[in-house]
């Protein structure tokens, strides 16, 4: 089995899907000749030509809006937003248009597009190259939101996303692109959307995370393991639809839960997870539902010292786990 970085896994999956499905196109800023600012689309332009790998002008609303139209007329577009931070000019097209097309037309039209965007902090990207933007989209009925954390999942989830008949947002953590490696089978496997994964079984505290934080949560679990705290870690992988079955199952077992996300705390995605637990796991909870999340400032600052202050890390997670375990 081949070992791949997250980035390689995504790049190969894009190429494979384009080979498999002649209607798939990739479009975005610098995705063509340059191969993307992170080289995620490197090689596609050479293999599939400028008709199917389109260097667009610097216009995010167009990138998404034209993808919607192209999807309606028989293509399967996989647009890229260069950084998740720059998805906001396309917000109207995503939220008002892509998400609602099927519902508003009473199923007459669908919108099979997968919008890829690198996200996340800890990369010295400052306010506008570090954002976690998932909460804006997980709230939107009609969208699906996926955040892979391993090369294996990235491939299986990207396949599911591209083949899905509805619009999917696929967020890739920049810090994981080259830092995580893993085995990726050659088979045409898929990881279904909407299924979380228990990445470490445990008994005392459940830690729920995704993306970079899924890794940090495993590290935190390791940190406290020596202290006799047995942590169950869940990597959500798909944020919408949320796999409530898996999280409720775990919390029923452990009775305690820490939710980890790197986005700003207030109103972030973890709030919904906490709300689900507060409503549906009340009888099983042996302690407060704890959130470890980014502070409520308008972005990750650039200076290293300030960035470290902002970012959730394994130590901050471990500290919360210890406190909750002792509750």
């Amino acid at each position: 089995m081949a070992v791949r970085t997250l980035l390689e896994s995504i790049r190969e999956t894009l190429a494979e899907e384009m080979r498999r499905d002649p209607t798939m196109i990739v479009l975005g800023e610098d995705v063509g000749r340059k191969g993307g600012v992170f080289l995620t689309t490197d090689g596609l332009w050479a293999e599939f030509g400028e008709d199917r790998v389109i260097d667009t002008p610097l216009t995010e609303s167009l990138i998404v809006g034209a993808s919607i139209g192209a999807a309606v007329n028989g293509l399967r577009p996989v647009p890229e937003i260069q950084f998740a931070d720059f998805i906001f000019p396309a917000f109207n097209q995503i939220v008002s248009e892509a998400a609602r097309l099927r519902y508003r037309s009473n199923n007459a039209f669908g919108c099979p597009i997968t919008i890829r965007a690198p996200y996340g902090g800890g990369v010295h990207g400052a306010l506008y190259h570090s954002q976690s933007v998932e909460a804006y989209f997980t709230h939107v009925p009609g969208l699906k939101v996926v955040v892979p954390s391993t090369p294996y999942d990235a491939r299986g989830l990207l396949r599911s996303a591209i083949r899905d008949p509805d619009p999917v947002l696929f967020f890739e953590h920049k810090k994981l692109y080259r830092s995580v490696r893993g085995e990726v089978p050659d088979t045409d496997y898929v990881v279904p959307l909407g299924r979380a994964q228990v990445t470490r079984p445990g008994d005392h505290v459940t830690v729920i995370a995704y993306g970079l934080m899924a890794h940090y949560s495993l590290e935190a679990a390791e940190l406290v393991a020596g202290e006799g705290i047995s942590v169950e870690v869940i990597d959500l992988r798909t944020l919408r639809p949320l796999d409530t079955e898996t999280i409720l199952g775990s919390v029923k077992k452990t009775g305690k839960c820490v939710i980890v996300y790197e986005d700003n705390r207030f109103g972030g995605y973890g709030a919904e997870v906490a709300a689900v637990l507060a409503e549906e796991a009340f009888d099983y909870l042996d302690g407060p539902v704890v959130r470890v999340a980014g502070p409520d400032v308008p972005g990750v600052p650039y200076s290293h010292t300030l960035e470290d202050w902002f970012m959730v890390d394994p130590d901050k997670i471990a500290a919360a786990v210890r406190r909750l375990a002792a509750y």
Binding site: G65, G69, A71, L75, N92, S105, N107, G142
Partner: protein, 351 residues
């Protein structure tokens, strides 16, 4: 009103042209086609007037429609291939939708928000048309978003080599939105088979053209996207037909997009929620009525001997029957079942 000068000039030019040339033959339009165009315009008008009657009678809570715009829409789109080319409409596109094959019954199903409304099953406000069967894209309310959908549809047509043309319509107010700029820019770069029609009626709700843009003609912006910008008098149905035919042929040939600005008039308030006398003078409203495409086209067809031998009256009677039928039938159709309200958020696999 900023558009008046130009509109008058366009009208004069058109009149001059028709003096030398009898209009049907040199445009390649047969008599039955001219009658069909007239029928579309007159049917749309009758349907539209009925909507307002229903609204005043308290039968439908909301109307937004296209009185004054019908001539431009029928003329511009008459040469499209139905069921093959794409229309990406806006809320004044009643005539365009009929031209591409939607029926008065279907329009009225939307007006009454009935379960079988093909546009949205009663989910959207009236005026938000769509029909998958006829390649009429479902529309939303935020203005100008549809320009990008038309551009994307044209991109797919080009990549898939389907020989399709995509047309879209929007108001001159909407054309100031960012999406318009981004869409035309992309269409220009890739010479896409798309036609963007701005129906300039001089107002965005209450905001007059002079506060919407600093230029007289939206079409003047076409140069910035390396595409032709065509101004046409929207009250002159055959001038619209000619402009539409040329743009469609151009797109079909692979020569790229066209921006068409039709100078039209809004004969009604913006919608049934609006009171236009608050911001339009009596003179302005009277001037607008001078640019009604329907009596003008009717006069042209009478003069040309197309509407003769009682045909005009027969058509009027037929149209009345069609509109009565559409109204009564649609009203009698069932409302959507709340049990269906949570369906189709996502694709539902066959059982």
């Amino acid at each position: 009103m900023a558009t008046t000068g130009t509109r008058a000039a366009a009208a004069k030019g058109a009149a001059a042209r028709r003096a030398d040339l009898p209009f049907g033959p040199e445009l390649g339009l047969r008599r039955d086609q001219l009658i069909e165009m007239y029928r579309l315009i007159a049917t749309t008008r009758a349907l539209d007037e009925r909507m307002w009657v229903l609204n005043r009678a308290g039968k439908v809570p909301f109307v937004i429609s296209g009185q004054g715009h019908e001539g431009a829409q029928v003329g511009l789109f008459f040469d499209l291939r139905r069921g093959h080319d794409w229309l990406v409409p806006y809320y004044r596109s009643v005539a365009a939708c009929l031209t591409l094959g939607m029926t008065p019954r279907e329009i009225m199903l939307a007006q009454f928000a009935r379960a079988d409304d093909p546009s949205s099953g009663g989910r959207q406000m009236p005026g938000h048309y769509g029909s998958a069967a006829r390649n009429i894209m479902s529309q939303s309310s935020p203005v100008a978003t549809q320009v990008l959908h038309a551009v994307g549809i044209a991109l797919a047509a080009k990549i898939r080599r389907t020989d399709q043309v995509a047309v879209t319509e929007l108001g001159e107010g909407a054309s100031n939105q960012g999406d318009f700029h981004e869409g035309l820019n992309f269409a220009g770069i890739h010479r896409l088979p798309v036609i963007i029609v701005v129906e300039n009626n001089g107002y965005a709700i209450s905001v007059p053209a002079s506060l919407e843009t600093a230029v007289e003609d939206i079409a003047s912006r076409a140069a910035g996207y390396a595409m032709p910008g065509v101004i046409v008098d929207g009250a002159d149905v055959l001038a619209c037909y000619r402009a539409g035919r040329e743009a469609i042929a151009r797109a079909r040939r692979g020569d790229g997009p066209t921006l068409i600005e039709a100078k039209v008039t809004r004969l009604t308030a913006h919608s049934s929620d609006d009171q236009q006398t608050k911001y339009r003078t009596a003179a302005d409203l009277a001037e607008g009525r001078q640019h009604d495409p329907l009596p003008r086209f009717r006069g042209e067809l009478r003069d040309a001997g197309v509407l003769d031998g009682g045909l005009e009256e027969r058509l009027a009677a037929e149209i009345k029957t069609v509109v009565d039928d559409a109204t009564d039938w649609a009203e009698s159709q069932p409302e959507p079942d709340p049990a269906t309200a949570e369906r189709y958020v996502y694709h539902e696999p066959e059982a």
